[in-house]
Subunit: 287 residues, 2 copies
Amino acid sequence: MTSSSMSRTSSPARMRSLVRGWRGGGRRVAFVPTMGALHEGHLSLIRRARRRADRVAVSIFVNPRQFDRAEDLERYPRDLGRDLRLCRLEKVDACFTPAAGALYPPGHRTEVRVTGLESVWEGASRPGHFAGVTLVVLKLLHIVEPDLVLLGQKDAQQAVILERMIRDLDLPVRVLRAPVVREPDGLAMSSRNVRLTEVQRRAAPVLHRALVRARRAAREGERSPARLLKRIRREIEAEPAVRLDYAAVVDADTLEPLRRMEGRVLIPVAAFLGRVRLIDNVQFRLP
Amino acid sequence: MTSSSMSRTSSPARMRSLVRGWRGGGRRVAFVPTMGALHEGHLSLIRRARRRADRVAVSIFVNPRQFDRAEDLERYPRDLGRDLRLCRLEKVDACFTPAAGALYPPGHRTEVRVTGLESVWEGASRPGHFAGVTLVVLKLLHIVEPDLVLLGQKDAQQAVILERMIRDLDLPVRVLRAPVVREPDGLAMSSRNVRLTEVQRRAAPVLHRALVRARRAAREGERSPARLLKRIRREIEAEPAVRLDYAAVVDADTLEPLRRMEGRVLIPVAAFLGRVRLIDNVQFRLP
């Protein structure tokens, strides 16, 4: 264990003044918002932040507003002690751990929506989810005021929505999107993976496998989104432990279904393994 | 005419960097958002801003999103040359005059709403109005990044909504609300007043007169909001040139109708004089 001078605060005012001090002294500040339960995916965001900035701030806040199912909120893994240890090991400079009551005091009424983008795919399966995400990230950006915020490609739709919000609202922050980090067998890192049974865990990489095969088929000339989707569905549904929620072939910016395989392609999937819902995606460019 | 070094820009990036330069040099910056057609009400906000800050920024932007009627947007008075002259005379340091296309480029999708507060009174009469106001003010605050923003009590509901938004979103800006400025006969200053005919102009002060009498009655012991409203309606409706849209007796923070006359009381009214819609209000505290 290294000794460390990481600041930790649950006070919005203290967090703001920390970052203002750094920026006033000419330091560039990068921010990684998280819900804790840190894994290699988060750590890769933190390391990228470190390479791009002089100071790294991380928030750990399990945002109740973005859970559409109470059960999912309850079961969301929490281990603040471990998360703080990991942040210290990664030489994070400040960790912001607000209480829900500090971010959502009684009388809170304001909502932020990215219309159109928030109601499809994950938004259709999880009503209200993205409204919760946009609200908390906007609040966190106002509190932390970083130069740069890092978003993970694992939550591709979330990244598209937040980038749109940041542009639409003229927020003075740059966005860096970082690639999905995977287990050796291809399963995307997720805080929910710990809830998989052994059988489910062995079945889970089918999502990535199906996506990679679809990307290869597209690159090798498959021009029909419908046929690609059929392949993906067939492959995932062949796995008895996995129940597909949705798969789609969409424009990576507008999230609208593609009619032809061209341009910036995003293929998001979501599936249930028992009661655990996992998402994954591939994104690539076609001529 | 004084000579002046007022900066004027329609570029969001240039505006942001101007203010950042000031604040980086330790200057306190106050911001007055306007739709132009400046009158004594605006000038009083600018003078207050000057007393509270080292630098004063004013925006002039007729925000299309907050007009519920195309006719009202078309008829909204515009005289940028005169507005800029007035700003120079008031020693405004920077005037931000963005184009609509710069604030709302194609693909803009983000909305901000202060639920509950935005759909009553003015919001009920002007669907979408406050969503347009919250959106543009949030964008302007992100561009200008002032220490302090000034809001006029003339638009009391707007001020309540914006203060709520600023608090709910943890925006790093203080709010100062400034009192209504009136013509000698009591008519609240408004950019719409120039559109009144002579007859309408003579009739218009009835709004303020009725409000002042209601406040006096409340202070002298009238305890029934219903009876107060009846008095206000009777007095305004006695004026043939004026058609009352609504009058209400509400809590000054929640905007909910009062059952008893107590606490922080707001009495907003709206009325049509021909095709011109005027609003006014009184706010006071009862034991």
